[in-house]
């Protein structure tokens, strides 16, 4: 009986040594995963995911603290890309109602703008130009459509206008009325 205990003890001690050593030898710093996740997020910085912007959300996902379905601007495509990267089951989006497919951008009715600069402070990507007491303009190309500038405006002169379809941004529609469109897999629960 003693031999048994001693043998197993010897075995486990030597394995312990090995593992202890390799824990130090193969220590891993940093996490390249956050970068990859961040690259998938739409960078709208709208905070709808409940985090202070896209990067914090990416960090939370990497740490396994947040689910992958919280970003409405990223939509289903974004969620699927995350599921793909992380090898997880796709999950239906949390706030489906916000994922209107048509993208909008902010437009300031310039004659009504009083130049209070509140919208400039709200815009996470500096897409609004103008100085205090002067009318402000949204740079259409840089606006991500996050709507954060709309509520602060004291005179409510900011509208979200849908982006117009032109010959250059028109997309061929998904063929419809054909056979069944595949739906993304739902989780087993």
């Amino acid at each position: 009986m003693l031999t048994a205990i001693l043998t197993i003890a010897a075995l486990s001690v030597s394995f312990g040594l090995l593992l202890g050593y390799s824990a130090i030898r193969f220590k891993v710093e940093g996490d390249p995963l956050v970068e990859q996740i961040d690259a998938i997020l739409p960078q709208t910085q709208c905070g709808q995911c409940g985090f202070a912007g896209c990067r914090p959300y990416a960090e939370a996902i990497a740490a396994g603290e947040a689910d992958i379905n919280l970003c409405p601007p990223g939509g289903e495509a974004g969620m699927l890309a995350l599921a793909d990267l992380l090898g997880k089951e796709p999950v239906p989006l949390e706030n489906e109602s916000n994922t209107s497919s048509a993208k909008s951008i902010a437009h300031i009715r310039e004659d009504e703008c009083i130049g209070c600069t509140l919208c400039i402070q709200a815009c996470p990507v500096d897409a609004i130009v103008g100085a205090a007491k002067q009318m402000h303009t949204v740079i259409a190309d840089q606006c991500t459509g996050c709507e954060l500038c709309v509520p602060p405006c004291p005179v409510e002169c900011i509208d979200m206008v849908p982006v117009k379809t032109t010959l250059s941004n028109w997309k061929w529609p998904y063929p419809d009325g054909m056979e069944q469109e595949p739906k993304t897999q739902e989780q087993g629960s």
């Binding site: 205990i5 003890a9 001690v13 312990g16 593992l19 202890g20 050593y21 130090i24």
Partner: protein
């Protein structure tokens, strides 16, 4: 560096401690159970044997009176030969396990032959034959295997030791001739072996293996 070493030693210590605890638990249980387990296994084996040869017919310590033979004519692997005696007189030998080729995988048999060369009986220890076809050799499914009881090399005559389809006396199963054919052949070979080696089988001094392979 000192810190590193400490970490390593700590890991080793933790694993070591649990190793000791686990090993202690198992060793204690082993000590407490080893004997009973051995006994259980022996009894299980003996129960099988007593189905073929009545308990009262034997008075020697069967499990000790055993030989290990290795005869390619009989079986690919080693076979244990248990010798049953009453008051020193040979009663029967039990070959176990004898391998017979099956349809899917080898079939392992226990074959008991009385001293007079007649069969005390045959049992299938394990097999992987097709359910519904070849598995009728199992005594829990049909009584086919009981048909060997009392048969010997003269009864039926040796050229009739075949399945009916091949001109013998033993039944086959519809659609599955291979399995019974092979078993009949194996039992016949065992009888032949016994016939040739009978003297030696009973005389040779016992040599029980260190760890009897019960089945």
């Amino acid at each position: 560096m000192a810190k590193l070493n400490k970490d390593i030693l700590l890991s080793a210590a933790i694993l070591g401690i649990f190793g000791v605890l686990g090993a202690t638990l198992v060793s204690l249980t082993w000590t407490a159970t080893a004997e009973r387990i051995a006994l259980n296994q022996q009894q299980a084996f003996l129960r099988n044997v007593y189905k073929l040869i009545k308990h009262e017919e034997i008075d020697n310590e069967l499990l000790k009176d055993v030989l290990t033979i290795h005869s390619p004519a009989l079986s690919k692997d080693k076979v244990q030969v248990y010798r049953a005696r009453k008051q020193g007189e040979p009663v029967a030998v039990i070959f176990s396990p004898v391998q017979s080729p099956g349809y899917a995988a080898p079939i392992r048999l226990m074959i008991a032959v009385r001293a007079d060369g007649s069969l005390a009986g045959v049992r299938v220890l394990s097999h992987l034959e097709t359910p519904g076809l070849g598995d009728k050799i199992d005594d829990s499914r049909t009584d086919w295997i009981l048909g060997f009881e009392g048969k010997s090399l003269d009864n039926p005559p040796i050229e009739k030791w075949k399945v009916k389809k091949d001109g013998g006396v033993f039944d086959q199963f519809t659609g599955a001739t291979i399995t019974p054919r092979n078993i009949v052949a194996t039992v016949r070979k065992t009888l032949e072996y016994f016939g040739q080696e009978k003297e030696r089988l009973f005389k040779q001094p016992a040599a029980p293996p260190a760890e009897p392979p019960f089945h």
